[in-house]
Symmetry: C2
Subunit: 203 residues, 2 copies
DNA sequence: TCCTTATTGACCGCAACGGTTAATGCAAGT
DNA sequence: ACTTGCATTAACCGTTGCGGTCAATAAGGA
């Protein structure tokens, strides 16, 4: 990793790593070509190798960067500073939308990276992530005020179902190549309001 | 396409096309290697080319086969012969589970094929599918008895949400490489019962 | 034994890959 | 105008992987 990369104009940095996020989110690690990343970001392959000395280093930088940015966005939106489940959900997803404005393919990249099987990558990834994800799920279930939910539903099932739906929704958007943050934000809010109405106890 | 393929023992046929479904569901058309399909099905590459004269022909056969099998399973389960939404949903998904027993990667293949962008493939696929999918969604909304739903929810949103969740659920299963029909069947039923309870009007 | 069919290893030509290097362009300093 | 130093690239290298072919072998039945 070459420090000169960080001295580039921010917009150029973004163009490069977005191209990388895109290519790595559409292909497995092994089949994602560096040349495609270079083309997509409008620089030469040689220059790309000048900034990131090899493929693995670029990939690991993207991974670390994704984690760090996600963490930052989550705290910025005060995601965990509420005990209302749907408010927390909204903040969490809106923070991801805001991230999406700058890095449209970061979400898809993270999802894929987590399940990447290439041995050189797999190990480094898993170690790093288990702490984060397990911990945050714990926090959610400790913080949440469950008295607001309908009494006749199973909360774990609801929780799982909601996250399936979010993943399925995003999957469709990516498949349609249709990442428009404003639109997604609107539709996500509709979904959350829908869930809130359905799962909340009527008083 | 060589007719001799159909004279093979059924189990060998299945081994071959399952390998193909798998490889094509994990890679884009362009990056799915015929050699990998041959290896995975335990035959030589030359023999694979002997049965399916080239890559495109194999792919198109898989696509046609997927459509036909899906259609067959749907009618076998009498999916459309009810006006209860959740019953219809259950039959639809269980029919897919039964398909999954013989062809674990057919579902993932179909999903990916529909969004395949390789120009040689794209056109042939889209033509063929639009009729089917659009038509079936129409039928669903015409047949369903909507009086059973809670009055305060938007049915279109519910419909969309449920299908997002199913896709998200299956996505996770595939990502974890965890296609166990019995388990999926059980969990799907739990989800459907959950939805039925949540969305149905209390009387 | 011979004939037919099923199956494959070895091969071909080409494209794509990760990575390198020597040569360019190009702006600032003198 | 000339040099220095850095940003950037075209061209290249050795290797691998690809779709597809073919001559040779294995297998089986009469």
């Amino acid at each position: 990793m070459n420090d000169k990369f960080f001295k580039l104009p921010l917009e150029k940095q973004r163009r490069i790593i977005n191209a990388a996020y895109k290519v790595f989110s559409e292909n497995s690690y092994k089949k994602a070509p560096m040349s495609e990343i270079a083309d997509e970001s409008g620089i030469s392959k040689a220059l790309l190798f000048h900034y990131f000395t090899n493929k693995k280093e670029l990939y690991m930088y993207l991974w670390m960067n994704a984690i760090e940015m996600t963490r930052k966005a989550v705290t910025e939106y005060k995601t965990l500073e509420t005990d209302d489940f749907f408010e927390m959900l909204k903040r969490s997803l809106l923070s991801k939308c805001s991230l999406m404005r700058d890095y449209p393919h970061l979400y898809a990249f993270s999802l894929r990276a987590y399940y990447e099987t290439a041995p050189e990558i797999h190990k480094s990834i898993q170690e790093n992530f288990n702490d984060v994800s397990k911990a945050s799920e714990m926090i959610v279930f400790e913080k949440i005020d469950i008295s607001k939910f309908r009494k006749d539903i199973d909360i774990k099932t609801m929780y799982a179902e909601i996250f399936y739906a979010v993943d399925g929704y995003m999957l469709k958007k990516y498949r349609l190549n249709c990442i428009i943050p404003d639109e997604i934000e609107k539709e996500i809010i509709i979904l959350i309001d829908f869930w809130k109405k359905v799962y909340t106890q009527e008083v």
